[in-house]
Symmetry: C2
Subunit: 169 residues, 2 copies
């Protein structure tokens, strides 16, 4: 899948087929994370790869906005230092993982309610680190639309030369 097509069509997927993700695809998702650029190439990130059904169920039960993790065949916790660089680098790696997955037909979604003491304990995450995101992955259960998205218009978010001067193209 071409880069722009992946970006254009990728949608949040919260319902998954009961079908495992092949090891090769999991490896490719992690490789995408590993190869992502980070500030000063610090790579201060860790990725906890969860495929155990019992753990996925517990994550679904514990993550207030991510019940559907329970039904995913895979979830990856993005663990970073709790600072702006950590947030930025972890988010860039997350986006690369999600795009790499999407190119293989695998949907995902970002769950940001994963940084609780209970979930950190479940995944063994050190106290001083932060679970920036939990990302469940899976083959979409329903038909995925052709990239119709509900987004602001470009002139609402893009500015020419100075903030407040709408970008005309």
């Amino acid at each position: 899948m071409q880069v722009f097509d992946a970006i254009r069509t990728m949608l949040a997927v919260r319902e998954y087929q009961d079908r495992p993700i092949p090891d090769g695809v999991v490896a490719r998702i992690l490789e995408a994370a590993r190869l992502t650029g980070s500030a000063r190439n610090r790579q201060g990130w860790d990725f906890v790869v969860v495929r155990d059904r019992a753990t996925l169920r517990q994550l679904g039960a514990l993550a207030s906005t991510g019940k559907y993790i329970a039904d995913a065949p895979l979830a990856i916790a993005v663990v970073v230092p709790e600072n702006t660089t950590g947030y930025m680098d972890g988010s860039r790696a997350a986006q690369d993982m999600m795009l790499a997955a999407w190119a293989e037909g695998v949907g995902s979604n970002v769950v940001t309610s994963g940084n609780t003491p209970e979930i950190k304990e479940l995944l063994g995450v050190p106290r001083e680190r932060m679970i920036l995101m939990l990302i469940p992955f899976g083959y979409p259960a329903g038909k995925v639309g052709a990239g119709r998205k509900n987004r602001k218009r470009l002139d609402e978010i893009a500015h020419a030369e100075r903030f407040g001067q709408p970008f005309g193209g």
Copy 2:
């Protein structure tokens, strides 16, 4: 360019040809940002598109770690609310912009020293918003390698089921 190839080969580019980026490519970069997913689809981001040479020179002079912005034909300031959601969403949009550019042969790099009062004033960014990143874009001046990257090994960053159990694949 295929998604994984873009992720695999994208490198930070800090030296640019003296060659403008066509409007169609700029539009595609911005469209990539616009179509990025965000927490609760909030899209709380703004993008200031700078192509004016004098402004680019001033950005290069003012951004302590981004002198090379002065020589880029384009820089985009990613402006977000100063909170974790803002950091995450802005970084995801940034990654999509950089990948979309890379697929068109355009390199970029993240400059994180842009959130100063002087630069905010130069770009007219409201006081309560944050310049998360300045991203200069341009055609690479030198030959870009075939994706050789200096990165940690997978087992140093990926954990199986629990933090501390190296992921074996």
